[in-house]
């Protein structure tokens, strides 16, 4: 166990039938660190995210959050999914709290009344802290713009992250200006004491915001390098494996 590791992935293997989606993957994320998780489609990134967030249980190995094993989905790891995982038919506030509504009474889970006032106040405070501007928190999310929806998804992930947040392609569907804003937000997180795992296909983006890059290929971890411009080529070759199919200095990715 590393001294300051917020999250440690220790020898995690996950099989679906005969196919090993993850094969003894190990790495650690230190406090206030932004770690990029790189890999081609099917490299095992999404499976790893699901293991970290508690949706999948690893077949072998364990995941530790601040030294204790991750169990279930309420472990304090915030996840922002590629497809945003929003409910278009529900309000902004409800989306932020979906699955963990403040309830009275709190037990048994799900049987209490939702404390709507508390939820609205907390939602307003969270969005204010993250400087996300939504005029009316009772608006159904389906009626918001793409950028606003993304902002809510990211806020939701961050709001419940005590120490670490996983961002799965947070900028994939965004325009340039919205992308810049989301990345700026990602960059603020370490200052607030929250470590970040960033999944991205965009190496420029990774170099701009990440400290370190962990590279997966066919379920195996094949490299771990500092996310600097000098290592750009190294990262590309690790992602695609073997010799580089370089075309005009760019790969087929992106």
């Amino acid at each position: 166990m590393t001294a300051n590791a917020v999250l440690e992935v220790a020898g995690v293997t996950k099989r679906f039938g005969n196919h090993a989606a993850l094969d003894t993957v190990s790495f650690a994320v230190q406090e206030r660190e932004v770690v990029a998780l790189l890999g081609d489609n099917g490299a095992g990134k999404s499976t790893l995210v699901k293991c970290i967030s508690g949706i999948h249980r690893p077949d072998q190995g364990s995941i530790y959050l601040e030294g204790s094993p991750v169990a279930g989905q309420d472990s304090g790891i915030g996840v922002v999914y590629q497809d945003l995982a929003l409910f278009d038919n529900m309000s902004v506030a409800e989306n932020l709290f979906a699955g963990r509504e403040p309830c009275w009474p709190r037990f048994p889970r799900g049987f209490g009344l939702v404390k709507r006032r508390t939820m609205l106040d907390e939602a307003r405070r969270t969005l204010h802290r993250l400087e996300v501007k939504i005029p009316n928190l009772k608006t159904p999310v389906g009626l918001l713009s793409g950028g606003q929806r993304q902002a809510i998804a990211v806020s939701k992930g961050i709001a419940f992250a005590r120490r670490i947040v996983v961002l799965d392609e947070p900028t994939a569907a965004l325009g340039i200006r919205e992308r810049t804003n989301v990345l700026r937000l990602v960059r603020q997180l370490p200052e607030a004491g929250i470590a970040v795992i960033l999944i991205s296909h965009n190496l420029e983006e990774v170099i701009a915001v990440a400290d370190r890059a962990v590279i997966l290929r066919q379920g195996k971890m094949v490299g771990e390098v500092a996310a600097t411009a000098e290592n750009h080529e190294t990262m590309v070759s690790l992602i695609v494996g073997g010799s580089l199919p370089l075309i005009n200095g760019k790969t087929g990715q992106e």
Partner: protein, 360 residues
């Protein structure tokens, strides 16, 4: 790519339109007008009901009399109750076609128990609720746990199975006579309000509380909106879905108790009552793809159907035309709802623009 190494604190994530220095009164007034317009549009089913009542009251002076309105409400009560059960399933984007057969089976079991073991009459209501619970569990096991197939097919099969059981239990005929307290529930009044109406209000109130205020009910709505997302945020989707079929069947059992009391007999359901209930749900503005629906507008939907039947009878129109009118209203209601959704969307975007102080 922009250089982002230096964290820029105080940045704004969503760069909407800048706050206007002074929001003009005109745009405030426009925002108010839009809010009113949105409220009106959202009240669609109620407006349809008022239109229908207006037309019938012009054609027949007797239509809006207290006794006839009471009649309409009592006649609509069984469809309304069953529709509330159907609504729960529709909320998650599914259907339960077996609910009507469950109503029939419950009326028959109630009547047969009373005929063969009159001393066990007190036990009829709890027994019927248990039957509803059991059928709900079977449905849920097949659909949610065993994942046999889609709910439409599984519950279509269950429709036949339960109907067949009803014939077996009843011997294929109507069974007259049910316990006195069941008759009382359906035929007596409290504070001048008929029992069936009170029953609908009570059950509707409970369901409203569940779907709008209780976390479990919000999860039902969330699953209807986006099932994938629901499991990702940690909602126990399978447990919630399981409960949905049970709640629906228990509502069907309550409907069965009511119908038995109203008819003072047990009758096999011919399979059309669930179709009426689903029609009421749709006329009440629910979306069959899930996530959108209202308890009280579902009741309004049932009252719309009841008003049409009642009004046409008052006007001495041949009952052969009643299904025609119901079908036409159903299609019109769905068309109106589609129109409503698109207009509503446009208005809301407009409202958001005005609130954000954007270009008008």
């Amino acid at each position: 790519m922009v250089e982002l190494k230096k964290p820029a604190l105080g940045s704004t994530l969503v760069s909407g339109h800048p706050e206007p220095d002074g929001t003009t009164q005109a745009s405030q007034r426009r925002s108010m007008a839009l809010t009113v317009a949105l409220r009106l549009i959202a009240a669609g089913p109620l407006l349809v009901l008022l239109c229908i009542w207006l037309v019938f009251s012009l054609l027949s002076p007797y239509f809006l009399s207290t006794s006839n309105v009471t009649n309409i409400l009592v006649q609509s009560s069984s469809v309304a109750l069953l529709a509330l059960g159907a609504l729960v399933v529709v909320m998650v984007g599914s259907l339960d076609l077996s609910l009507g057969s469950t109503v029939g089976l419950c009326t028959i079991v109630g009547a047969v128990i009373f005929r063969d073991y009159p001393s066990l009459g007190w036990f009829v209501i709890p027994l019927l609720l248990l039957i509803g619970l059991a059928i709900g569990i079977v449905n849920a096991l097949c659909i949610v746990s065993l994942r046999i197939g889609n709910a439409f097919i599984v519950t279509l099969g269950m429709l036949y199975v339960i109907q067949s059981l009803s014939y077996v239990v009843s011997g294929g005929t109507q069974v007259p006579g049910v316990p006195n307290h069941v008759i009382a529930l359906a035929n007596e009044s409290l504070f001048g309000i008929p029992g069936p109406v009170l029953l609908v209000i009570a059950c509707g109130g409970l369901l409203w509380l569940l779907l709008n205020r209780v976390a479990w009910g919000r999860w039902i709505v969330a699953i209807g909106g986006n099932r994938d997302a629901a499991s990702k945020v940690g909602i126990p989707t399978r447990k919630v879905l399981f409960s949905v079929y049970i709640i629906a069947s228990v509502f069907a059992a309550v409907t069965g108790i009511l119908v038995a009391g109203l008819n003072n007999s047990g009758t096999v359901d011919n399979g059309t009552s669930i179709l009426q209930a689903i029609a009421a749900v749709v006329i009440g503005g629910a979306s069959l793809t899930g996530g959108r629906g209202s308890v009280w507008y579902t009741v309004v939907g049932a009252v719309i159907l009841g008003s049409i039947t009642n009004g046409l009878t008052l006007l001495s129109v041949s009952p052969n035309w009643t299904p025609f009118a119901i079908g036409a209203v159903l299609v019109a209601a769905v068309g109106l709802d589609t129109l409503r959704t698109s207009v509503e969307g446009k208005l809301r975007i407009r409202q958001a623009q005005i609130q954000a102080g954007g270009a008008v």
